[in-house]
């Protein structure tokens, strides 16, 4: 509850700070202070009880240890995001405080998605998560690309919400309740599965696949990520995506337990295979690093979906590691990218000579995304695939495909490293639009060190799952 209430209040505070504070830098400092407070609050909730005791809300929101831990991860990632990209957020437009406020509201929606117990809360959480994102995507009001991305995102998002609602209603019609535990109990006795219930589950699956941008429901993702202001793409591709994946798991692990038959795994394995193939193969042909990262985020979602395939402890541990290492690495790359003049691969040419610190940190991020050992990304992928193998080892083709796709991803990720270290800079234009501060490379290296720390010793994170 801490995450939901405090982030919503922080959002209101940010809205009003925009009215009374005129200096953008001060606004960023206020937002950073609030997010640090928020992450401390979520950590407190992980260790002890929640600050807010609302017994009436039990039927709607029920936080598990797992949800709390993901909440901590999301807020920590957001903290790094605010610190690394604060200056870029200030450059997007005039309403800086409002952007921060919207991001706090997104976090509130994520908090609801991590703990919903009722399908009503799933709906509200998804809406609170996405409606601010429509606005953030269109934040550059004069930029046609940003306009277009936000309109597309809005239409597609509202459409998928309609589908989700139809799914919820059909399940309600068959089961007579919105409560996940009640649905789960009733579903155990309803064999064979009721027609309306089955239809509802399929519609819910489709709409959730839409939200996490799994193929074949991914087509909005590259356009939206490409058109949105680069700083906000970073937020959407990391924090929002992890929250959506966790909501996906939470939705289908309780109520749909009786549904976890061989048929379920066939369905999800097709979803995963499509996602991995589409994400990786199209990413190979991209010239813009931003668009390449958009496609690669699709394929990363494919790995995270192994938790939906498996529904075991391995999968949950994997999502924890994957969520943090993927979020940090992507936030790091985007924080550099949003400062750059040229966001194609050529823009990275010769970066290592001018900024060795930044280049080193970027290398670690890229290695982690590609899943090279000793980084968090490797362990994440390892956990996810072994979760799948532990639950049903007959899907050998899927695991081999996942490993092959990881190998393909090495190609396009390493093009960044190649450009930074092995190519000369031809043009005289500076790498960055704005001069980077002295602290920026140090912060990036801290983030990189964190990723390596997770990769070497994941227990520092996982021990909290078994508090």
């Amino acid at each position: 509850m801490n995450l939901i209430i405090i982030s919503a209040l922080s959002g209101v505070v940010m809205m009003f700070s925009g009215l009374f504070v005129k200096n953008n830098r001060t606004i960023s400092y206020i937002a950073t202070a609030l997010i640090i407070f928020l992450s401390l609050a979520t950590m407190c909730e992980l260790g002890a009880k929640s600050w807010f005791n609302i017994p009436q809300a039990e039927a709607m929101l029920r936080t598990s240890v797992y949800g709390k831990l993901i909440g901590v991860i999301l807020t920590i990632a957001t903290t790094f995001y605010f610190v690394l990209s604060g200056k870029d957020i200030e450059r997007v437009g005039k309403h800086v405080a409002d952007y921060y406020a919207l991001m706090f509201f997104v976090l509130a929606g994520a908090g609801i998605l991590l703990s919903f117990q009722n399908l009503l809360m799933l709906f509200l959480g998804v809406e609170i998560l996405t409606i601010p994102l429509f606005i953030l995507t269109g934040a550059q009001k004069q930029n046609l690309k940003s306009n277009e991305a936000s309109l597309k995102y809005f239409l597609m998002g509202a459409f998928s919400t309609g589908i989700m609602l139809m799914g919820i209603v059909l399940i309600y019609g068959a089961m007579g309740s919105f409560d996940l535990s009640v649905i789960g109990k009733k579903a155990q006795f309803a064999t064979p599965i009721h027609g309306a219930n089955l239809m509802g589950l399929l519609l819910l699956l489709a709409s959730m696949a839409f939200k996490v941008s799994a193929a074949p429901f991914h087509f909005w993702t590259p356009d939206v990520y490409d058109g949105a202001p680069t700083v906000f793409t970073s937020f959407m591709a990391t924090i929002v995506k992890v929250a959506a994946v966790v909501a996906f798991i939470r939705l289908f692990e309780g109520s749909m337990e009786p549904f976890h038959t061989s048929k379920w795994q066939i369905l999800v394995s097709i979803l995963i295979a499509c996602t991995l193939l589409v994400g990786n193969i199209t990413a190979v042909f991209q010239q813009s690093v931003k668009r390449m990262l958009a496609y690669s985020s699709i394929s990363q979602a494919g790995y995270m979906l192994f938790a939906v395939f498996a529904f075991n402890a391995f999968g949950k541990e994997g999502i924890t590691i994957y969520g943090l290492s993927y979020s940090l690495a992507t936030i790091g790359i985007f924080s550099v990218l949003s400062k750059m003049q040229d966001i194609t691969f050529d823009g990275f040419n010769g970066l290592a000579r001018q900024y060795p610190g930044i280049a080193f940190a970027l290398t670690v991020f890229v290695l982690s995304l590609a899943g090279i050992p000793l980084t968090g990304g490797f362990l994440g992928k390892f956990y996810m695939i072994s979760a799948g193998a532990a639950s049903n080892s007959s899907y050998t083709w899927l695991f081999i495909l996942a490993i092959l796709c990881a190998a393909v991803s090495v190609y396009y990720y390493f093009r960044i490293i190649q450009a930074m270290y092995f190519k000369e800079r031809v043009s005289d234009t500076p790498v960055f639009e704005v001069p980077v501060s002295k602290a920026f490379p140090i912060l990036l290296i801290v983030v990189a060190a964190l990723i390596i720390l997770i990769g070497i010793n994941p227990q520092i994170l996982l021990q909290y799952l078994y508090f």
Partner: protein
């Protein structure tokens, strides 16, 4: 189960189908007859948009002031929020003071939003 049972037999729908077909054919036929038989005199007055006999002025698709649009949107938002008062009004007595406090909190957030748009200048009509 209860949900999808008791489907009527298709034969019972036959009169409805006939009526449907008759309706469609009738309308299509009338339109076709009036199209072929009716005289065609196209004068400029006739092709004009009918506005109760008053001569039309300008184009209807003129851009309107964005102020109006903003106020309309804000109206929609604040208008719909009142929906939550209906369940509260039904349970006014049984919810007691605790319910009243909850609704007061809701209204406070409401006013925070109102204060925000007021301060942002969204309600200013004159520049």
């Amino acid at each position: 189960m209860y949900l999808l049972d008791a489907l009527s037999t298709p034969a019972q729908y036959l009169p409805i189908a006939i009526q449907f077909a008759f309706g469609v054919l009738f309308v299509a036929g009338m339109i076709a007859i009036s199209h072929f038989l009716g005289p065609k005199r196209n004068t400029s007055d006739k092709l004009d948009t009918f506005e109760s006999g008053i001569e039309q002025i300008g184009n209807a698709r003129q851009p309107m002031a964005i102020k109006y649009f903003l106020v309309a949107i804000l109206f929609v938002l604040f208008d719909v929020e009142v929906i939550f008062f209906y369940p509260y009004a039904l349970n006014f007595k049984s919810l007691g003071w605790e319910g009243f406090a909850a609704v007061c909190m809701f209204v406070t957030f409401f006013f925070a939003g109102f204060f925000y748009i007021y301060k942002k200048g969204a309600l200013k009509w004159e520049d």
